[in-house]
């Protein structure tokens, strides 16, 4: 596999006209620094309002960046990716509630479990292509949602909830909310790092080769199944971690909000908005879409029309800026390609 990956890199590289690979490290550090800088503002000012807003922004970034790994890099539109968010949330919540496990180990177990599940369902499901795969992921999400709705150990349709006292173990609910925030910052940094490393690796090149032409990639000796399943498994980890933290903070988990198909589509929209298949795109897309939604929601003029306005904006982007903000910048100003992944 080693040699074949190298070969494919050369070929694919030519194909994309990206043979010149400058040292792009500064870009990565810049992104990380920007996220950290933003994350530090509420910590320094102690503003819980900003903290809550950034929590949602970072969650949007995590969901968009992780779905981008399977969708943007590999070309498999995972429509029901939110299923891993819900599974992660449920498993972690279950552990925290019934076995008094601390958030951090509970989230890790949930993340590994979700990845394991992705590995299992990925092997058969990733054989499907295009629309068939997209439909299958919707089906999986709905199947899991309706299953959990009947699954009594997870509380069935009533869901599960914490007694407020649970937060005492974390030094009160105020500290618990801060802990959730640190957690989401850590997961966001992890997601962005993974997204960047994959994009820059031979593994990432293999994925993009599959995206462009799976059969050709196979001829070149890439094992598409192994590559795709690996990408799917990785991309399931981060939503699960985010779900564990989100529902910990919420104090309550129910099937409908955990497996919300609309939230799944929103993360695809964020990817599209920022730039399909780029590292920075889903980050920008996540930030912009989340802020935009809150702006529309809380503005007195648009509040009742916010859904329709989001629709119009999305349509305009899809029709006229299909490469997204970052993709379009890269396309337009070639020099930027050296700096922005």
């Amino acid at each position: 596999m080693k040699t074949t990956a190298t070969e494919s890199r050369a070929v694919v590289g030519t194909r994309f006209g990206e043979r010149i690979r400058l040292n792009l490290q500064p870009f990565y550090w810049l992104m990380l620094a920007l996220i950290l800088l933003a994350a530090f503002i509420p910590i320094v000012t102690g503003s819980s309002n900003l903290r809550e807003q950034l929590f949602l922004v970072l969650m949007a970034v995590i969901l968009a960046s992780s779905v981008n790994i399977i969708m943007g890099y590999t070309g498999y539109v995972s429509f029901g990716h939110i299923v891993f968010f819900g599974i992660g949330g449920y498993i972690a919540f279950f552990l925290m509630l019934n076995y008094q496990v601390h958030l951090v180990p509970a989230a890790l177990v949930a993340g590994i479990a979700a990845s394991g599940l992705a590995l299992l369902i990925g092997i058969p499901v990733l054989r499907l292509r295009g629309a068939y795969f997209a439909l299958a992921t919707i089906g999986i999400n709905e199947a899991v949602r309706s299953f959990v709705n009947n699954f009594e150990p997870f509380g069935g349709s009533v869901g599960m909830f914490f007694n407020v006292q649970v937060f005492e173990a974390y030094g009160g609910s105020r500290n618990a909310l801060w802990l959730a925030y640190y957690g989401i910052v850590a997961v966001a940094l992890l997601t962005v790092t993974a997204s960047y490393l994959i994009k820059r690796s031979k593994f990432g090149l293999g994925l993009m080769a599959i995206r462009e032409d799976q059969d050709a990639a196979q001829v070149l000796g890439i094992n598409p199944t192994r590559y795709k399943v690996a990408a799917y498994t990785i991309s399931a980890l981060f939503p699960a971690l985010a779900g564990a933290i989100f529902f910990f903070k919420n104090g309550i988990i129910e099937p409908a909000p955990a497996f919300n198909l609309t939230a799944s589509i929103v993360s695809l929209v964020a990817v599209m908005l920022g730039g399909f298949g780029t590292v920075a795109g889903p980050i920008i897309g996540g930030v912009v879409y989340d802020r935009l939604r809150e702006f529309l929601l809380t503005s007195s003029i648009f509040s009742s029309l916010h859904v329709a306005i989001a629709g119009v904006l999305l349509l305009l982007i899809v029709l006229f800026v299909p490469a997204g903000l970052i993709g379009e910048l890269r396309r337009r100003i070639p020099i930027l390609r050296r700096f922005i992944e």
Partner: protein, 287 residues
């Protein structure tokens, strides 16, 4: 098990299956002709419901007279939607068209919520019923089945007995070849898209005569349409009708045997399994 209840539920499910089938035909036709999954399918079904509701309640039309008008409105809506949202990205990968149609769905839901709120509406249509023991055949359901059969037959005739239908099939088969043969592919694509949305709107109109609904009600039928379309094979309208009937029947029969809350679980598991084992549908060729 109570045999009479089973029989009664089988009949109930079967009848509803025809309406499911019509809705799914719209989705599958669009996919078959242009490889687009229309995510505005559910909201368009809801628009069909409101079209019949408003025509009946505001203009005082008979609901069954409102249905042909809804067919035409659905056709017009779909053609406009095609030119506004789909035509420009028709050759892009499926993600692009998925998101374009999703954007339209957001617009419909957003404006619909403002215009109609999410207060449930219902049409008061009563055509009596045939009864025998536990078995009840409502007049409204029987008429819905009849209309569904007529619509399906009409679509079949259109596709296989007319020139336009021939063109649609040609475009579905090979778009560039059809273009070379002098077919106005853009017009045919727009018309096919309109046909798909007209079917969805018709299904919505029929549903409005049966159940209470809101602007969000299309969502349930959209998900069911996905299941049906996969049962019948993506892109196969006849398969969709059969798939719809099958799904209705399954729902009816399963309800008797297992706790009703588990029925959707079974449905979606079957859906995923069929995609994996027979992606071309139950009646399609094996891969």
């Amino acid at each position: 098990m109570n045999l009479e209840a089973l029989l009664a539920s089988g009949i109930d499910g079967l009848m509803l299956g025809f309406v499911y089938g019509i809705a799914a035909m719209g989705l599958t036709l669009i996919f078959g002709v242009m490889r687009v999954i229309n995510l505005a399918h559910g909201p368009i079904i809801a628009l069909g419901m409101f079209s019949v509701y408003l025509l009946t309640n505001q203009l005082g039309l008979n609901p069954y007279l409102a249905i042909p008008i809804t067919v035409l409105l659905g056709l017009a809506f779909g053609m406009v939607m095609y030119f506004v949202a789909v035509n420009r990205v028709i050759n892009e990968p499926e993600l692009t068209t998925l998101l374009a149609t999703f954007a339209v769905s957001l617009i419909i839901i957003g404006l619909g919520t403002v215009a109609f709120t999410t207060t449930p509406r219902a049409l008061d249509v009563n055509l009596g019923a045939l009864r025998s023991g536990q078995i009840t055949v409502l007049g409204t359901k029987a008429v819905a089945v009849l209309i569904a059969i007529l619509v399906a037959a009409g679509l079949y005739a259109l596709l296989y007995r007319t020139r336009v239908g021939k063109s649609i099939r040609a475009v579905a088969n090979n778009r560039s070849a059809a273009e070379i043969m002098g077919i106005n592919t853009r017009g045919i694509l727009a018309f096919s898209f309109g046909l798909g949305t007209a079917l969805a709107a018709t299904a919505g109109g029929l549903i409005a005569t049966l159940f209470a609904f809101t602007i969000l009600s299309g969502g349930t039928f959209e998900l069911k349409s996905f299941v049906i379309v996969v049962l019948g094979g993506l892109g196969n309208p006849t398969g969709a009708l059969v798939g719809g009937i099958l799904l209705g029947l399954l729902e009816g029969v399963f309800t008797i045997f297992i706790p009703v809350g588990w029925v959707p679980v079974i449905e979606y598991v079957i859906f995923v399994l069929i995609l994996l084992v027979r992606p071309n549908g139950l009646f399609g060729a094996r891969t």
